[in-house]
């Protein structure tokens, strides 16, 4: 009897934590999304399920755009950071921690300042465009700020360390004897990478994609600061509806739609690439 209760008791703090900080807010948001009313008269729960199709209908462009920007920036961060993580893990030598520190150094500066710096770098007469215009490589009216390119740049840049760190950890954990064995069996450099290192680093790649993808798809600051008239992401809409317009039902419904869509993506991803990698990483 006692032995049956103990595991439950041991997991009680975690269960309680989840219940208070996850289940209760989630149920509240779900019920608020089904309410109708306004901030002055108050909101009544009227089980207005119509808010979901309406919200998807009205904001489909911003939802799709969020996944597009989030997806592209995640892919770019992966392409940029895998070689970096690889280099630090395999070629970093004694100075590995120094290199990791250097990688993280810019990120000790506040997020807002970093995004604002991009605004400075990308401005029409700024470091990049100003120079290119002076030497006549781009036209006088060319601009980068306020375009999807600028938003994706901001998202990608901010994702770099979150992509690099899990991949580095996975690469670092690889038993070097396996690589040596592949070498002994006459595998070429590329084959060693393709058949041994890449599969073994998959859990890190998976973690990096999840970490970066989920936060980038829900991001709103990059679009707000670097974007233009048609780069609004779903995070911007949720913020406006909640803070500016006090339209809690629509904001809640959009949050849940975003969450459901993200979960769906994670499941599809796990289904395509297998869940083995997640368990290994855990």
């Amino acid at each position: 009897m006692r032995s049956r209760i103990v595991p439950y008791l041991q997991s009680a703090p975690a269960t309680l934590w989840l219940a208070i900080f996850f289940v209760v807010p989630l149920v509240s948001i779900a019920s608020i999304s089904l309410m109708t009313g306004n901030s002055i008269e108050g909101y009544d729960l009227t089980w207005n399920f119509g808010v979901y199709p309406d919200a998807i209908d009205q904001y489909s462009a911003q939802l799709l755009r969020s996944f597009l920007y989030g997806g592209v920036s995640t892919a770019l961060a992966l392409i940029a950071m895998y070689p970096v993580a690889y280099w630090i893990a395999f070629r970093g030598g004694k100075r590995k921690s120094l290199f990791l520190f250097l990688l993280l150094l810019p990120f000790l500066v506040s997020f807002i300042i970093r995004i604002l710096t991009w605004q400075f770098i990308l401005s029409d007469e700024g470091l990049v465009l100003g120079t290119l215009k002076d030497i006549g490589l781009v036209g006088e009216n060319a601009h980068v700020l306020s375009t999807p390119f600028a938003v994706i740049t901001g998202l990608t840049y901010d994702a770099l360390p979150w992509m690099a760190l899990p991949i580095y950890v996975a690469l670092e954990k690889i038993d070097r004897n396996l690589v040596e064995a592949a070498n002994d069996l006459y595998a070429s450099g590329w084959q060693q990478f393709r058949r041994v290192i890449l599969p073994l680093s998959a859990p890190g790649v998976y973690a990096g994609i999840l970490l970066v993808g989920i936060s980038n798809i829900g991001d709103y600051l990059s679009a707000q600061i670097l974007g233009g008239p048609s780069t609004t992401m779903i995070g911007n809409i949720i913020q406006t509806q909640y803070v500016q317009n006090g339209d809690y039902p629509v904001a809640s419904a959009l949050s849940l739609i975003l969450m459901a869509a993200l979960l769906l993506c994670v499941f599809v991803y796990a289904w395509v690439f297998g869940t083995r990698t997640i368990q290994e990483y855990a």
């Binding site: 219940a19 289940v23 209760v24 149920v27 509240s28 019920s31 608020i32 309410m35 009313g37 306004n38 901030s39 002055i40 008269e41 108050g42 909101y43 009544d44 729960l45 462009a61 911003q62 605004q119 401005s123 029409d124 007469e125 700024g126 009216n141 601009h143 700020l145 306020s146 600061i225 974007g227 233009g228 008239p229 048609s230 609004t232 911007n236 809409i237 406006t240 803070v243 500016q244 317009n245 006090g246 809690y248």
Partner: protein, 379 residues
């Protein structure tokens, strides 16, 4: 457990703000009679919105010297909507927000504060300086016709600014819609500002405009965006974009351009176009449950003194509610560029060319407005 919570929420919903303010028939005159000064004032305002010298605020120091009231000055308000979303749950719970005086622009948040009766009406018998010195900027308010709650702190004009090096002189709102400046036009992301300039561009008086007019303005502004003319819908960052040369022309606030001119950007020009512009006011209001309402009134009365107003106007460069401060800025403070600026001390003729945002009286009309203009800003 989740089921229980659902039932709980189903039973009560989310309460509204109605009936959480002062009773409609409350006898404020009798209440004011019982109030006394407590020697402290908690004052919430906006950053860079009061005279400053060496980390002190001379006008506040003079106030403390004259009245013995200590002021806790907190420049915590960044924008109306987010400040309102911070204080409204507290006021809804019928508690004090910890400030005796807050500065808030005319607009939907101020309308809600007044309609919920979340403000304490001013006791004009204790504001002799207001009576004596307030100009029409402070007394002629469409949103508070009897000046019941609002003592204007400073006002300002939203019109257009342009980079003269790029555009040459401009005097019409048509330039905002001119394909010549494609990708170089800045518009404001505040939906009151955006919608109102749309109305003005069509020659419609915002204050008497109807829903049908709003739709026309929305159509005009949508076309402007879809034609690629608008570079971005900006908050205060439009001023940086103008300075960086990213914009040729933009909707702009008067004080910002005045300060930019003074800090090395003489190429930026501010103009009230021939179609007119918007005069907005930032209002000092006393929130309900304030602990030191008399001290708040004392300060309002004090800053309507022309010599004090001169100090503030000379520093913040927005439109002053006290015309009598003008000769003091020109004479004693020896700053003719501020004193003679129509953007700080506009003439009555200038003021006649300015209108206010349409006042959305009810949440239904407010929703109509936002649902027309928000989708333009966030597309």
């Amino acid at each position: 457990m989740a089921g229980g919570l659902l039932q709980f929420l189903a039973a009560c919903g989310l309460p509204g703000t109605r009936d959480t303010g002062a009773p409609a028939d409350f006898d404020w005159a009798a209440w004011w009679k019982d109030q006394k000064s407590n020697g402290t004032l908690d004052f919430a305002s906006w950053p860079l919105y009061i005279d400053s010298a060496g980390g002190r605020h001379p006008s506040l120091d003079k106030f403390t010297a004259a009245t013995g009231i200590n002021v806790n000055y907190r420049p915590v308000i960044q924008d109306n909507a987010s400040f309102f979303s911070q204080i409204s749950p507290v006021l809804q719970a019928e508690q004090g927000i910890g400030y005796d005086l807050i500065v808030i622009s005319n607009g939907w948040q101020l309308t809600q504060l007044m309609q919920n009766r979340w403000l304490i009406p001013l006791d004009h018998s204790r504001l002799p300086n207001f009576k004596k010195y307030a100009g029409t900027v402070a007394t002629d308010l469409a949103y508070d016709p009897h000046v019941t709650y609002c003592a204007v702190w400073q006002a300002g004009v939203t019109a257009i600014a342009y980079d003269e090096d790029q555009t040459g002189p401009i005097d019409s709102l048509d330039a905002l819609f001119d394909p010549k400046w494609k990708g170089k036009v800045g518009m404001l992301s505040d939906n009151d500002e955006l919608g109102t300039v749309g109305l003005l561009a069509l020659g419609i008086d915002p204050q008497t405009s109807t829903y049908a007019d709003w739709k026309k303005a929305a159509a005009l502004l949508t076309k402007q965006r879809d034609d690629g003319i608008v570079r971005q819908y900006y908050d205060n960052s439009y001023i940086k974009a103008l300075q960086d040369g990213d914009l040729a022309i933009s909707q702009a606030y008067s004080g910002d351009i005045f300060q930019a001119n003074a800090s090395g950007y003489p190429n930026l020009k501010f103009v009230i176009p021939k179609q007119g512009a918007v005069l907005w006011r930032d209002n000092s209001v006393i929130p309900l449950h304030a602990e030191n309402p008399v001290d708040a009134l004392e300060w309002i009365n004090f800053y309507y003194r022309p010599d004090i107003q001169a100090l503030i106007a000379d520093w913040v460069n927005y439109v002053s509610p006290v015309p009598a401060a003008k000769p003091i800025v020109a004479g004693k403070l020896d700053d003719p560029s501020v004193a003679n600026s129509p953007l700080v001390f506009p003439s009555e003729a200038d003021l006649k060319r300015l209108s206010e945002y349409p006042v959305t009286e009810t949440i239904e009309t407010h929703d109509q407005w936002t649902s027309l203009f928000d989708p333009i800003i966030q597309s």
